[in-house]
């Protein structure tokens, strides 16, 4: 089966999930992101890489943070940005996803950033757009949130450059988390030798160990000697579905306190994709403590999203050049004879 994310030359065409992407592409994105970290620190925070391109943020599921970071990333690349909260417009009028997408194609968008509550929605859209449009998955159901996974490994790489010698623990609701899945794939693809998940059995998906992780059900053993702790968000509705008895009990058993964190290595870093539930999955003193890199994650998120858009936009531009060259060369013989 052809990988729908890569074009015929093995270049990134869409970013839908980390799973199945070769290490060279992950490194290409991370290395490109390094070059963009500096852009934000300049007075003029813009580069002209996507000038004349239109990026369309289509959010079928509400989001402020992710949409904003994509918007900033696109604008820093000089793209025009359109934001569409479909959750509050067409879909409620009964329009199908494809109708919405077709309309935007007709408006000549170049890139779609898509968030949807259903797993596979980004793949579905990518299958139905013309070849010159790239789709970036900004989160689909429980499936994937690849730019979050990338910005997380980017952060890890910045603080712990020797990826081949790391122990990473993901803590919390892996079952419902697209972030967890993307983090796991990103870490294992980049050669992190030991990835752990720590969660109650009700919050782990079936056969999770087949994703290449070690499973722990208690914090002390799970956090022992880890270099990186990645916390996952716990949504309040998990209490109503008989998955957990209460937020208090969850915090007591799986919440990250300084006492728990002391089981990890002394220089371990703490990450969280946000938004945080303080006092549910993480103690404020840890979230704001010296080991926390939660705010740098947000900063790097913009650089990583710029990198993804620049790479996809670069492929598009190269494609246009090729088409132009082909058009020119195919006209030439006729012109001469």
């Amino acid at each position: 089966m052809h990988n729908p994310q890569l074009d015929i030359d093995g270049k990134l065409k869409h970013l839908l999930t980390i799973e199945g992407l070769p290490k060279r592409i992950l490194n290409q994105i991370l290395d490109t992101a390094e070059t963009f970290v500096g852009v934000a620190e300049r007075d003029i925070k813009k580069v002209p890489l996507l000038r004349g391109k239109t990026v369309c943020n289509i959010f079928f599921e509400n989001s402020t943070r992710t949409r904003t970071t994509f918007e900033i990333a696109a604008k820093r690349l000089s793209a025009d940005v359109i934001n569409l909260n479909v959750g509050t417009s067409s879909q409620s009028k009964g329009e199908t996803i494809l109708d919405t997408v077709d309309n935007l194609i007709a408006m000549h968008a170049d890139m779609f950033v898509v968030r949807h509550a259903q797993s596979g929605a980004a793949h579905f859209i990518a299958q139905h757009v013309p070849d010159n449009i790239s789709v970036i998955n900004a989160g689909d159901g429980r499936h994937a949130h690849p730019t979050q996974g990338l910005l997380d490994v980017f952060t890890v790489r910045r603080y712990k450059p020797d990826m081949h010698n790391l122990r990473v623990a993901l803590v919390g609701d892996v079952l419902h988390s697209r972030v967890a899945r993307s983090e796991i794939h990103a870490l294992t693809t980049l050669g992190v030798p030991e990835v752990r998940v720590i969660a109650p059995k009700t919050l782990l998906p079936a056969d999770v160990e087949k994703l290449g992780v070690q499973v722990f059900h208690d914090m002390k053993n799970g956090l022992k000697d880890v270099d990186v702790v990645m916390m996952l968000r716990l949504q309040n509705e998990r209490m109503t579905g008989a998955l957990l008895p209460s937020a208090q009990e969850y915090f007591r058993t799986f919440g990250l306190t300084q006492e728990m964190l002391n089981h990890a290595k002394n220089d371990a870093i703490v990450m969280h994709p946000g938004p945080m539930n303080r006092g549910v999955e993480i103690d404020s003193s840890v979230a704001d403590g010296s080991q926390s890199v939660i705010l740098p994650q947000v900063t790097y998120g913009i650089a990583v999203r710029m990198a993804v858009m620049a790479i996809l936009g670069g492929r598009q531009s190269a494609g246009e050049r090729n088409t132009a060259l082909q058009a020119a060369s195919s006209m030439a013989p006729g012109g001469i004879s």
Binding site: G141, R142, A206, D207, V208, L211
Partner: protein, 425 residues
């Protein structure tokens, strides 16, 4: 009308026929097999050299979408698809709109099917009113109207007491209950087998235990109430094991599997292919192998198409939102034959699973070529290769996970009531 089918290889599992013989049809019935009856002069001769002549196929589950969903498919298009697939008798589940819970609806469906004269339609009546799992239907009246059994289709039966009483009531009259076993709560909102693939794709899973728990309760109630039960669309190895044990213990149980589940697994979801969104979900390779083995050792009695035409728009959605189901009438034969090839079973074994066995389950006079039986006959080329293409399917439902795949085995002629009703051009 007298028809002479000559030079064909006759396979009739019920009568243990498996050799080259001529078939003589007169007045809508099988007149004789082998030698012509005295004074037989054929109006029509079909040369079946190189072809297999078998009883017309009997499909245990085909949704015809009438009444209520004519936009998706009509009785006419789907019965044309059936006959093109060699299917001359089919049972249809009661989940139409309205539900088949009134004798008048059943009579209307039977009547309209009869007018079309394309295949015999045997409705399964609703076991409970509106399939809500609360109140019993008038099973006796529905049976008199033409229902051959009672079913909940894909609707759950969460109230064990209602289930128990429905069994007792059906057993009073000797009716068979057809159930797809699935625990409502464990399956709720699920769209894929709860295993590695669903975990990777972030799809809500339905554990195999949703099926096995339900089968275990159904079998126990069937045993206690002495009810004849048919378990539809088995999907798990655990399910096969429970049925195997129940049969050994003398429970009156039969079971079927769909052509999809004989050949596909959760892996076939690939990158969220909505055509692989099925009820029950496609499970692991181990489950698929157990289903195939169960068919071979007789634990599972029949293969059905589980034909469920879905219109394109209802499939053009993200995986979990897409309507479940596959179009399958025209693929029943080649996929049954493929089961035989893949599992070292004989062609006759495959034919039995789509003729005499399902006919026995439905308790209808069909699925064999006995003298004086209805001349419903399928004539096919077991070696003919063809490719599944949407444009070539007669069914209005073009939704099948087998699109683009090559099939071996193609219907050349189908006879219904001794008349040639389909001929491949």
């Amino acid at each position: 009308m007298k028809i002479h089918i000559k030079n064909g290889h006759v396979i009739d599992p019920k009568n243990n026929l498996n050799s080259k013989k001529d078939v003589f049809v007169a007045a809508g019935k099988i007149a004789s097999i082998g030698n012509a009856p005295d004074g037989f002069i054929a109006n029509q001769t079909i040369d079946a050299a190189g072809l297999v002549v078998s009883p017309g196929f009997v499909d245990l589950s085909a949704r015809l979408r009438e009444p209520g969903s004519e936009y998706t498919a009509t009785l006419k298009t789907e019965l044309q698809a059936a006959i093109a697939g060699g299917i001359t008798s089919l049972a249809c589940p009661p989940d139409t709109t309205p539900v088949l819970d009134e004798p008048g609806l059943v009579e209307m469906l039977k009547h309209r099917a009869k007018l079309l004269n394309l295949a015999h339609v045997y409705p399964l009546g609703a076991l409970t009113r509106r399939l809500e799992g609360k109140l019993l239907t008038e099973m006796n009246a529905l049976s008199n109207a033409g229902c051959v059994g009672f079913s909940q289709a894909d609707n759950a039966m969460t109230d064990t007491l209602v289930l128990w009483r429905a069994f007792e009531y059906a057993a009073t009259f000797g009716y068979t209950i057809f159930l797809r076993a699935e625990d409502y709560y464990l399956a709720q909102n699920g769209v894929a087998h709860d295993g590695e693939i669903a975990s990777r794709l972030g799809l809500k899973g339905i554990p195999a235990a949703a099926e096995s728990l339900a089968i275990a309760s159904i079998l126990r109630i069937a045993q206690q109430t002495n009810t004849r039960i048919h378990l539809c669309r088995i999907s798990s190895a655990e399910g096969v094991e429970l049925i195997r044990a129940a049969k050994k213990n003398g429970v009156q149980v039969s079971a079927d599997v769909s052509t999809q589940h004989c050949h596909l697994t959760e892996m076939d979801i690939g990158y969220f292919n909505a055509h692989a969104n099925l009820k029950p979900p496609l499970r692991s390779t181990r489950d698929k192998n157990a289903l195939c083995q169960g068919l071979k050792d007789g634990t599972i009695d029949a293969i059905c198409s589980d034909h469920t035409p879905v219109n394109d728009d209802a499939k053009l959605l993200p995986f979990a939102e897409a309507e479940a189901g596959a179009s399958g009438l025209e693929l029943l034969l080649p996929l049954a034959l493929k089961w035989a090839v893949d599992n070292k079973a004989s062609v006759a074994d495959a034919i039995a699973k789509i003729t005499s066995h399902p006919a026995h389950i439905l308790n209808i006079a069909a699925g064999d070529l006995s003298v004086n039986a209805n001349a419903d006959i399928a004539i096919f080329n077991p070696q003919a290769e063809w490719k599944v293409q949407a444009s070539q399917l007669k069914s209005q439902g073009k939704n099948t996970p087998f699109l683009g795949q090559s099939m071996l085995g193609q219907i050349q002629y189908t006879l219904l009531n001794g008349q040639l009703s389909f001929q491949k051009n």
